[in-house]
Symmetry: C2
């Protein structure tokens, strides 16, 4: 037998207490959670089942699989219909307003869950859960910090993996291997069914200008039209930029980090754009504080880009991405979003991947990406590694 909750009592109380405070603020009496990312945030593990979170009092953990989990309020169920039966028998009130994960749970599943609570009104809890997950506890930050250290270690060893004549895909595979041997879990968690990626991307030379269907910062044609993003199997040529943007999921809490490598010297325009990206990151570290509006941080980046006359290349060339940063943690697209019309305001404990990038035709993609922790004194970098363009040879 194993404990279901893998957090210390104080950490579990902190996480659930913060969610309950948001629920009480919004008048939500209870939430029924089943999304893997939300379950992981609640109890420190992924399981198949549901977590019943009341606005006051103790959660109930309804488990389908795995067998043999134990702990207070751990209840095995075969199907969701067992949940209201248990709550009634245990005299646990459901309240008037029950939140469900409307933005991630499929329509048919949601309708089935709505049918469980005929006396209550169901509402969308996705917004509250996103807001809750956007502020990390110190223990969650520590897990991201551990990912960041390993992530940086892997990137430092990239030049040792390069051989002249390699394709972008071959280099990517060697980095993947190294990362996996360092303990990377591989899985790249992302919210939304239209988004998919393997472990990340190595984008080299002109391929950086190929547009993708996905809402990522950068493109690339990919190896196959079934996954049209990233490395396309072409040889890495001299005087091109090689952008490495692989996921850093070593603990369930990911860091996002990009560095640029070059095979031979790059033209001045590429160097200038790369420096502009570094400058934006450094300005962000000063300006990104609790209370600052995310859209103002986007505007700051945009102004710096315009001042350098680099707007043609910013966040893409043939196709432009509409953001420059995003929250990250269990998933890669958490809050806040650093975008022109974002309504997010920064909070202490946010963890944000900032990725001011440029696509320079014929040269490739340049710019850095780091994961930052928002503190009262500004943004602290969790992915510490030289930001300059690193020579592969």
């Amino acid at each position: 037998m194993e404990q279901l909750i893998l957090l210390s009592e104080s950490e579990a109380r902190l996480r659930i207490g913060r969610l309950q405070a948001l629920m009480r603020r919004d008048g939500m009496d209870s939430i029924l959670v089943s999304d893997n990312a939300n379950l992981l945030a609640l109890c420190g593990r992924v399981y198949s089942g549901y977590a019943w979170i009341p606005a006051e009092g103790d959660p109930v953990w309804f488990v389908r699989r795995p067998v043999e989990l134990e702990g207070e309020n751990v209840v095995y169920v075969h199907k969701p219909e067992n949940i209201p039966t248990y709550l009634t028998e245990a005299s646990i009130p459901t309240g008037h307003t029950i939140g469900l994960e409307y933005d991630v749970t499929a329509y048919s599943t949601t309708v089935r869950l709505m049918g469980l609570f005929t006396d209550a009104k169901t509402v969308n809890a996705s917004g509250i859960l996103r807001e809750w997950r956007s502020v990390k506890t110190p223990e969650q930050v520590e897990l991201m910090r551990q990912s960041g250290v390993k992530h940086a270690e892997v990137y430092k060893r990239v030049p040792g993996l390069f051989r002249i004549g390699m394709t972008d895909h071959e280099l990517q595979v060697e980095i993947e291997r190294l990362s996996r041997l360092e303990g990377c879990l591989g899985v790249f968690r992302i919210s939304g069914p239209s988004m998919e990626l393997f472990m990340g991307n190595v984008i080299s030379g002109q391929n950086a200008d190929n547009p993708t269907p996905y809402d990522f910062a950068m493109g690339g044609a990919g190896l196959d039209p079934s996954l049209p993003v990233g490395a396309n199997g072409e040889e890495i040529l001299e005087h091109t930029a090689v952008m490495v943007d692989l996921n850093g999921n070593f603990t369930g809490y990911m860091t996002d980090m990009t560095r640029v490598f070059s095979f031979g010297e790059l033209p001045a325009l590429a160097l200038e754009a790369h420096q502009c990206s570094i400058d934006i990151c450094h300005a962000f570290m000063k300006e990104a504080r609790p209370g600052v509006e995310a859209k103002d941080l986007y505007a700051m980046a945009e102004t710096m880009v315009r001042d350098s006359s680099l707007e043609r290349y910013f966040m893409g060339h043939r196709q432009h991405a509409g953001f420059v940063g995003h929250g990250i943690g269990i998933e890669v697209n958490e809050l806040p979003v650093i975008a022109p019309r974002s309504r997010n305001i920064l909070n202490e404990g946010n963890t944000i991947a900032l990725e001011p990038k440029f696509v320079i035709p014929k040269v490739g993609a340049v710019g850095v990406e780091n994961t930052y922790l928002i503190t009262s004194g500004g943004a602290e970098c969790l992915t510490v590694c030289s930001e300059e363009i690193i020579s592969l040879v």
Copy 2:
């Protein structure tokens, strides 16, 4: 500019014609598709947007990203609300019954899409789309055949990757690397938000008996509670079975394949169970024909297991899986399902992964898995590779 549809005209007509025939059978006037797997099946690529499929006539391809796709009826849209506007302007009738992907699209997105069609009734198209995708065209079978050949090539080279003292995770990483260098796209597409896996599993020794939250055939503790499945980082010990079950997604159409390797001799019980698995696969090849009920194939497997008194170990030991086979193609959990209460009936063109497996405590998991094509003459194996237990040393 690039063509949106990456299929020959006859192939596109065949695929869409088959879907339209099912729609007419069920009285569904049109379907609005946005799921990546369904889009890939319709046009041979993943894009961000929607496909409008009428029960009669030509589809309309509504694209958000990537830029610069072209072709007949390719229409760029910013948001789904542009769809009914376009259809009205183009005098394309929406019909009375519009199918949406209720089983895969999130509740909030579905409600938004429902709001586009106030004059029509929306219904669940997920069932029809699953049924449609369960029967592969000859070109789709060819893509699976190509995956199967590469998949088998990788497995044949596993013994060359093993070193005494390796952990299960280290061996897995070397197989992943080899597979990726052979062109594996890595991504393991699976329907359902509670299911997640990286590239598959290498399960060695006693770890095979650790239960997982996921609805996979086999378990394993994994490296981290955020992804509790598969290799757990322990050394591969002598006299244990090493089950290799990594995805074969080389073309967007995957094969699923498992082989067992051993480091030193295995006890008689494990060898017997492995032979029972091979026998079930061979019986399946004869019996799995169009018109056969999936549940009867499950019952056949179960009878063979009971006749060998192996039911304690069948499809798990501490935790048992409730199926022995599943459809496969773009996703790993397609139809038909070979399970006790399955209502599926086999069709020519189904592609099914059959995985009669056993967990033998202290020894590990044994049994094979192959991907089969259902033909009028029985099941043809697409993952051809020796089925015996292969020595690693």
